[in-house]
């Protein structure tokens, strides 16, 4: 037998099997490995609690120091209106309608923005045609579109969804385009000399290479979608959590203002977590 082809496989930390240990040492080990994140969680909890305490103190003593806390609801009042609201079908309807608008507007933006960005990134002519229009429309805030949207669309519901769509569309488009511009040309060459043709290169190289930036776009787009939705609801809505918050102000239901704000925050956080989770599912190679 002459020299063998097989080289020594370099050891990988991932492949060394963990030695068996008792439950106690395992727990101690787990604690040691996760010390940093546990600390972060603990500090985070304390900090949130401190925020509530400060809020409580500022409102119970009705502090006036540049800002006026005279009419600001206390945390406990907000909690009381929360317990009332979750049994109120009308409040739930507000939330469901807002979520539906986000879902439709954002999904449309993703379904239009991502493919458009991919195609613009690949074909120069399409880029040259569409990019100038996009650049002119992009700086206009979605809120500025409200009057125009009301004129354009027959129903209020449609114009609100349209505003939400516009808000998320541009971040998604721009980030997809950016991702396409960063695709490593050597990877394209590698695919070519493995026999890949244009459509395969698009599917197997350009698209997956752009995915991280597409997801950045989706995350930013989701944030802007909520901003635009709430603004649109406050101006022209009849339902929705933004309308609920504005209505609470008109009806002097101060606790409901804070409740609406917190609901918006929680919904926004939840939807961006959903996108992050989807990103990890779609891009397993980026898992740490």
């Amino acid at each position: 037998m002459t020299t063998t082809v097989v080289a020594e496989a370099e050891p990988s930390p991932a492949l060394t099997p963990a030695p068996k240990r008792s439950l106690g040492t395992l727990a101690a080990r787990w604690y040691r490995l996760n010390k940093e994140s546990l600390r972060a969680v603990a500090i985070g909890a304390i900090s949130l609690f401190a925020f509530l305490v400060v809020w409580h103190l500022l409102t119970t003593y009705r502090v006036v120091f540049f800002v006026r806390f005279t009419n600001v609801p206390a945390p406990l009042e907000v909690y009381a209106s929360f317990t009332k609201a979750i049994h109120d079908p009308k409040f739930l309807l507000h939330i469901v309608l807002s979520c539906r608008r986000i879902l439709i507007g954002f999904s449309l933006a993703a379904v239009v923005g991502v493919p458009l960005g991919l195609v613009m990134g690949r074909f120069k002519l399409i880029h040259e045609i569409i990019f100038p229009v996009a650049e002119v429309l992009r700086p206009i805030p979605a809120i500025a579109w409200v009057p125009m949207a009301i004129m354009l669309w027959p129903t209020n519901e449609q114009s609100i969804v349209f505003i939400t769509f516009l808000g998320s569309f541009f971040p998604i488009l721009v980030n997809t385009l950016h991702g396409m511009s960063l695709v490593d040309p050597v990877l394209v060459r590698a695919a070519q000399c493995l026999g890949a043709r244009e459509s395969s290169i698009f599917r197997e190289v350009y698209f997956p290479a752009s995915l991280p930036h597409i997801f950045t776009g989706l995350t930013v787009g989701m944030g802007v979608a909520w901003v635009s939705l709430i603004a649109a609801e406050m101006i022209s809505g009849q339902y929705g959590i933004g309308y609920f918050t504005w209505e609470a102000y008109s009806l002097v239901q101060y606790a409901d203002i804070a409740l609406g704000m917190i609901a918006i925050g929680v919904l926004g956080l939840g939807s961006s977590l959903l996108i992050r989770g989807a990103g990890q599912l779609v891009m397993p190679w980026r898992m740490k």
Binding site: T3, V6, A9, R189, C193, P284
Partner: protein, 294 residues
């Protein structure tokens, strides 16, 4: 091992590369810049040929033209008498920066060429496993490239390029980013694969030891615009052992190539390096530090 060998596509000797009267120039605002001029090289079927030369001499340009990524300004590039017209799976390429697809596992990377050819999944999985076995990587088939060491990545890169059974293998400084020890092992693996597969290899490097150790013949290129300065046959016997790198025969070849390249490197650096410049370290600063004088 023998079984593995049978599964890898072994075909009659093919892969005769011929580059005739080759020139390639780029257009810039100041006019055209000639990267490679008046070059003629050939690789016989099953031969291992290296191109060495000073940096920027156009050796990679030449290789990219054989791969089909660049079109010659004049002259012809043919493989087995057919003109090269764009990249193809018949000419496998290995890149310095590995260029594995980060979103594909090791096995999926190796399978890629077969997938493009339309081979059914089960069949290409089997082929990829066999090839990974040849490179000692079966245990890593499900890993993503990011988690591999440089040497392992490049083994995947080589195996991926070989998977489609190309007529020729083109390598563009494939081991340039590896540390010296890994590089030696990789050279051994490459020669072993080459001897088993009887494939023609065109190998670009700036490492003279590497070129001599691996090749049947070495082309030495001139500074830009690059052309062939010398063609050096390497009569060392095969299989090559690492101990040969100390033999007087090897060292004589190395000395010859080194002086050829040094001449061209100095030329490539142009006016920057004068005899005075080379002696710069001897300048008498009269007890001052350089910073004080500047």
């Amino acid at each position: 091992m023998i079984q593995a060998e049978r599964q890898v596509d072994i075909r009659p000797p093919q892969g005769h590369i011929e580059v005739e009267d080759f020139a390639l120039s780029y257009e810039t605002i100041e006019g055209s810049v000639e990267a490679v001029s008046n070059t003629r090289i050939h690789v016989q079927p099953g031969e291992f040929v290296s191109i060495v030369g000073p940096s920027g001499c156009g050796k990679s340009t030449l290789l990219n033209a054989v791969a089909g990524f660049l079109k010659p300004t004049s002259g012809t590039v043919t493989v087995d008498g057919e003109a090269v017209n764009g990249p193809s799976a018949q000419r496998g390429m290995v890149f310095q920066q590995y260029s594995l697809f980060p979103w594909k596992t090791v096995r999926e990377n190796v399978e890629f060429g077969l997938k493009m050819r339309g081979m059914p999944r089960a069949q290409r999985e089997r082929a990829a496993r066999t090839l990974l076995g040849l490179a000692g990587l079966e245990a890593f088939e499900k890993h993503y490239p990011e988690r591999l060491s440089g040497g392992m990545k490049q083994r995947v890169g080589i195996v991926r390029a070989l998977a489609t059974g190309p007529k020729v293998l083109l390598l563009d400084e494939p081991f340039g980013a590896l540390d010296a020890q890994t590089r030696v092992i990789m050279q051994q693996i490459l020669t072993n694969l080459w001897q088993r597969l009887k494939i023609s290899v065109l190998f670009v490097t700036h490492d003279i030891d590497e070129a001599i150790f691996l090749s049947d013949r070495v082309y030495c290129m001139t500074a830009r615009p690059g052309s062939i300065k010398a063609e050096i046959p390497i009569p060392l016997e095969r299989p090559r052992q690492q101990s040969m790198m100390m033999s007087s025969e090897f060292l004589a070849l190395k000395r010859g190539l080194m002086s050829l390249i040094r001449e061209e490197s100095l030329k490539a650096m142009g006016g920057e390096i004068t005899d005075l410049g080379m002696q710069g370290l001897n300048i008498d600063l009269h007890g001052h530090s350089l910073a004080e004088i500047l």
